[in-house]
């Protein structure tokens, strides 16, 4: 099932791209990575947004937990007040889990297509759809710059790039508030501690893996990370913008909305009374004021 629904379609898509892109395997990997990232973009954004939101709420959550540790009922109520739902935090991780098979399938596909032994080629033939002419596509070009795509990069460039790009990506996924507070004791916030350690451990781990991986696979990681960096940058910017807008909206709302909302019915009543006392023309001209503010403002 794994092969039929994930791995084989990916292998064939990779081969088709290789065919369309002038038998350039690096280009095929690049376009394929972009397509996959685009497909998983909604999931990614949702997961990232939820993760940032959760991390930023951590101090409040912890304070509530500490304060009401003996009163779960009250704790739940307080959580609801700040908009935190524990079930939602689990759902926030689901997109990441859904992406895992796609990611694993993608780099298994790269390994199989780049397989450089008779046995791996034979195994590839069993996975290729009938409408793809493998005879014309073979041999899959395995050279790119100084690299043999089926072997690790002997000059250490790709492992360094994998580390660097993944580090940047992880850094952009960490909320700014957490980075500002990184000098504070991490024990105060275990979630922040985990994110901080992920920021280093994941890039180091993948940097080391890249010393052993086929160069084609490392290229995929670098490209995928670069897209992730763009996505992270966009996410931070949009979150910051959202916060600014919220801050701007909050300020005037406190000063102006209350009297305006409460004054409206009284004003309408006074106008109506004045109009009724006036001439027939004045009565015709009377138009009640539009009741926009309270409901619309609530919606906003």
């Amino acid at each position: 099932m794994w092969d039929t629904f994930i791995l084989n379609p990916m292998i064939n898509a990779l081969l088709m791209l290789y065919d369309f892109l002038g038998n350039n395997f690096v280009l095929a990997i690049a376009v394929f990575t972009i397509l996959i990232r685009l497909l998983t973009l909604p999931l990614n954004l949702r997961q990232q947004r939820s993760s940032i939101k959760m991390q930023e709420m951590q101090p409040q959550i912890q304070a509530i937990q500490k304060k009401y540790k003996d009163n779960p009922q009250k704790m739940q109520e307080e959580f609801q007040k700040i908009g935190y739902n524990p079930a939602e935090s689990l759902a926030g991780c689901l997109p990441l889990l859904i992406q895992m098979p796609i990611l694993i399938g993608l780099y298994r596909a790269i390994i199989i297509v780049l397989g450089s032994t008779p046995q791996s080629l034979f195994e590839l033939t069993a996975r290729v759809y009938d409408y793809i002419n493998l005879t014309d596509l073979l041999p899959i070009s395995n050279k790119f710059l100084w690299l043999n795509l089926a072997q690790p990069d002997p000059l250490f460039v790709l492992p360094v790039l994998v580390f660097g790009t993944m580090f940047l990506q992880q850094k952009l996924m960490t909320p700014a508030t957490q980075q500002q507070n990184k000098n504070k004791k991490q024990d105060d916030n275990p979630m922040a501690g985990m994110t901080q350690s992920m920021q280093w451990t994941m890039p180091i781990m993948f940097g080391f893996f890249s010393l052993q991986f086929q160069a084609g696979l490392s290229i995929y990681f670098v490209l995928s990370n670069i897209i992730g960096i763009g996505q992270g940058y966009y996410m931070r910017r949009s979150m910051a913008q959202l916060k600014e807008e919220q801050a701007v909206k909050k300020k005037p709302a406190v000063i102006t909305s209350e009297p305006e909302v409460k004054a409206e019915p009284k004003q309408d009543k006074a106008d109506l009374e004045a109009a009724m006392k006036g001439t027939p023309e004045e009565r015709k001209q009377y138009q009640p004021r539009k009741r926009t503010s309270k409901r619309k403002k609530r919606k906003r």
Binding site: Q65, K69, P72, M75, P86, L90, C93, L96, L97, M100, L103, I104, Y107, R108, I111, I112, L114, G115, S116, T117, P118, Q119, S120, L121, F122, E123, T125, A126, T135, L138, P139, S141, N142, N148, A150, Q151, P152, D153, P154, F156, P159, P190, M191, M194, M198, M205, F206, F208, F209, L211, Q212, F213, Q214, L217
Partner: protein, 384 residues
């Protein structure tokens, strides 16, 4: 209640993610395998089957020795058929990474002397000659050694000292053993080309590009070079010029080299069709359908053509088969099954036709060449 569960949930998700990545990372290393490589000197059979190279004494029906370099990385594997000439055995490995901090793959050539005194003695070892796995069986001609590599090179080496003489770069991997005749090497490459090279200098004499990748060895007769291709054709080329003289059509890829005997060329495609064509004209003499995928070369002995075949790659318990066909008309004489698909061309020692396979139950099986009955079976002892 949830507060008690929460501390477990996040580490669990984190571990799941890491485990998934690690799982995939381990999978990245599984592609470096191949089918066993098999050769013979007429008395022993030599089989490179991954973790070791084994010499098996056919007459005594026991393993003579097995070879694995003491200081090698545990991931090192051998799959290219060993080259044997006058007791000198040349082995090329699939390479192993130099370790976490040395990503370059180290591929080594080993020259051994089979002394019949137990373990063979080392003549020389050289890890500087090639930099990618050796799939093609090395070829020894006198004191010259020719080795094709997966990173497109053919190198010529002094077989007595292990010193490189020259190298030639093709457009893609060389998986087939070169053929040699009168000072000229004929080299096929996955780049769809066959090259004729001067064996002394490595200078190219001609190059002919064909319609499909060439994964197998060329075969030479007096004036023609035969080469099988993934374009579903067997090509016969002029030995002097590389000009195509004729082609014989198959129905699918011809994976392994043809066999030439008595003026007739025998070859098989991966759909299981066996063909016998006239060596001079390419005219078909007979064809036979095995209905089993064939990725090996036919073996011709006296009046019989032996074909080792595999099974449907999607089969749940794939088996192999060895079939004996009458050389005159291709009619089946006998067929025997093997516990795993046969992807390696069999060898003949005396009255035994010996197959090598990837199976836990057997590494080598010998069948009687005449009757097809099983003569002996060899399974390597389990490593402790």
């Amino acid at each position: 209640m949830y507060a008690a569960k929460r501390p477990l949930r996040r580490p669990a998700i984190f571990l799941l993610i890491i485990a998934s990545y690690l799982l995939a990372a381990c999978g990245a290393r599984t592609a470096n395998t191949n089918w066993p490589g098999l050769s013979t000197d007429g008395q022993k059979v030599y089989v490179a089957y991954g973790p070791k190279v084994l010499a098996y004494d056919v007459a005594a029906q026991k393993a003579a020795w097995s070879f694995f370099p003491a200081d090698a990385a545990p991931t090192l594997q051998f799959f290219a058929a060993p080259s044997v000439q006058d007791g000198r055995i040349i082995l090329g490995d699939f390479g192993a990474s130099g370790g976490m901090l040395s990503p370059g793959v180290v591929v080594t050539l080993y020259a051994l002397n089979d002394t019949d005194q137990g373990t063979p003695e080392s003549l020389w070892t050289n890890s500087e000659l090639v930099s990618d796995r050796i799939v093609a069986p090395p070829l020894q001609i006198g004191d010259q050694l020719f080795v094709g590599t997966a990173n497109n090179f053919l190198i010529a080496v002094d077989a007595t000292s292990g010193v490189k003489q020259w190298e030639f770069e093709a457009g893609h991997s060389i998986w087939g053993q070169p053929a040699y005749k009168e000072g000229v090497l004929y080299v096929s490459s996955l780049d769809k080309s066959i090259y004729a090279l001067d064996a002394a200098t490595g200078q190219k004499r001609w190059q002919t590009e064909l319609g499909g990748a060439l994964a197998s060895s060329p075969v030479v007769n007096t004036n023609l070079v035969y080469v099988a291709s993934f374009d579903n054709k067997l090509h016969a080329l002029d030995m002097q010029t590389g000009e195509e003289k004729w082609v014989a059509e198959a129905q699918d890829w011809i994976w392994d080299a043809p066999a030439f005997a008595g003026g007739i060329v025998y070859f098989a495609d991966i759909k299981g069709n066996i063909f016998a064509v006239d060596g001079e004209s390419g005219e078909q003499i007979w064809s036979q359908q095995l209905k089993l995928p064939v990725q090996t070369s036919p073996v011709v002995v006296d009046e019989t053509v032996y074909i080792a075949s595999g099974d449907d790659i999607k089969a749940e318990n794939p088996q192999g088969a060895l079939t004996a066909l009458d050389i005159a008309d291709g009619k089946q004489k006998w067929q025997q099954t093997a516990p795993a698909p046969l992807y390696t061309t069999p060898v003949v020692v005396g009255n035994d036709i010996i197959v090598a396979l990837q199976s836990e139950s057997a590494l080598l099986i010998a069948f009687d060449a005449e009757t097809g009955s099983q003569n002996w079976i060899y399974t390597p002892p389990q490593e402790q």
